[in-house]
């Protein structure tokens, strides 16, 4: 936390906020900016104002957080195009109607400066974290168009939700969390559409209802114990087969479980970061991960079992065929 000097008057505080929001002071050239403290005038008047350093990176956000001396958070909205004559009066009028005040006045250059800084911040996100977001979105959506859409939505949502960003998590963690939610929304939408389309052609792949069911009896003992996976021993091919099965099964998980598995096990994010990104408690995360792993394990067991059945059927069918026309000496 970087401590700023005392603001002796609301006017001075406004000036400081305007320089935060637009990168220039309102006292210069009479830039017309009003700082609106939503958390009451008392908070505006508080002399000891601190600004979170990470927030400095985002000059131009419409809504910003200022921590006052007592640790209170005052949400400060930067509104342009209103001539500042008396900061108190302006703050009062805006408190009553925050959106109506600027409409009467023409747009000033301060707006474009603010807009530019916002765009600069968003560009920085895209520049610094774009690759990570892209790989993540592409891997999950498997479509260039959808991945692009998801990144765009993520950045816009991040800009709007920046006042909720906690410096405790890294920017990348935070953005991945938002992207993860966006992807989950996308898959929920797809599932809804599929359900409406009513194409109930379940091909046996993916999560079945039985995979999500409890495999224990009332006393908590295994009712349906896990079967050993028949590994044939040819490492790379086996792993590729398992990875493909895992992929199918993860995609078929309920979106909330899938996003947890993605962040924790596939991206390899530390558990604490996943909790921050998805806004979960540690216990919630453990429960979700346990449910997801159990479902994935059951799904893969079923997939492998089906594959083995197919193989044994094929093997059983092959000798019969060789005895047939082939066995009669056809060329």
């Amino acid at each position: 936390m970087r401590r700023r000097g005392a603001a002796s008057s609301p006017m001075e505080l406004c000036s400081r906020v305007s320089s935060l929001c637009f990168g220039r002071s309102s006292s210069l050239g009479g830039a017309r900016v009003v700082a609106l403290a939503v958390a009451r005038r008392a908070a505006v008047r508080r002399t000891d104002v601190q600004v979170d350093p990470p927030h400095d990176a985002l000059f131009g956000m419409r809504s910003r957080r200022l921590a006052t001396g007592r640790g209170t958070i005052a949400h400060v909205e930067c509104v342009s195009s209103v001539p500042v004559t008396d900061a108190d009066d302006q703050a009062d009028s805006l408190q009553q109607s925050p959106r109506s005040a600027p409409s009467s006045a023409p747009r000033s250059t301060a707006v474009s400066a603010g807009d530019l800084t916002i765009v600069a911040a968003a560009e920085r996100w895209v520049r610094e974290h774009g690759d990570v977001l892209w790989r993540f979105a592409m891997a999950r959506a498997r479509s260039k168009e959808i991945a692009e859409e998801i990144i765009q939505e993520t950045i816009v949502a991040a800009m709007l939700a920046f006042d909720r960003f906690s410096a405790a998590s890294s920017e990348q963690t935070w953005l991945l969390g938002i992207a993860s939610h966006k992807i989950a929304d996308h898959f929920r939408q797809l599932q809804r559409t599929a359900r409406r389309g009513e194409s109930s052609t379940h091909d046996g792949a993916g999560i079945d209802a039985s995979d999500m069911q409890d495999r224990f009896d009332k006393r908590g003992k295994w009712a349906n114990p896990p079967q050993k996976w028949d590994m044939r021993g040819d490492g790379a091919a086996e792993n590729a087969e398992m990875s493909a099965a895992l992929r199918t099964c993860v995609d078929a998980l309920p979106p909330s479980l899938a996003e947890t598995v993605w962040l924790r096990d596939i991206v390899g994010m530390p558990a604490e970061d996943v909790c921050k990104a998805l806004d979960l408690t540690a216990t919630n995360l453990w429960t979700r991960m346990h449910r997801a792993r159990s479902a994935l394990r059951a799904c893969i067991e079923r997939t492998i079992g089906m594959r083995h059945e197919e193989v044994s059927k094929l093997k059983a069918a092959q000798p019969a065929r060789s005895v047939g026309p082939g066995g009669q000496g056809s060329p």
Partner: protein
Amino acid sequence: MISFFRDVLRVLRLPCREQTHLLSRQLDAPLSRGEACGSRIHVLYCRSCRTFRKQIRLLRDLAGSAGRELQSAGELPEDVRRRIVKGIQANRGRDTTQES
């Protein structure tokens, strides 16, 4: 020391359903020494839980290697990057117009 034995005994009394919770939790957070010891003892004599542990560990490793492949999957293409930034600017413009 007392808490260690208390944890061991508590975990040993847990049925397989709770044991699988612990086995999964172990992949996300360290258990206490007593819990870890109790869980290990349970797994020694319970074949199903042993299989479960082996399989969820294998799944975690497979997922991890899928993630590593992801790292080398490529970068955000320049044309997409440009479109995204353009979209942000357009969105911001719309936002400001709505505000004013």
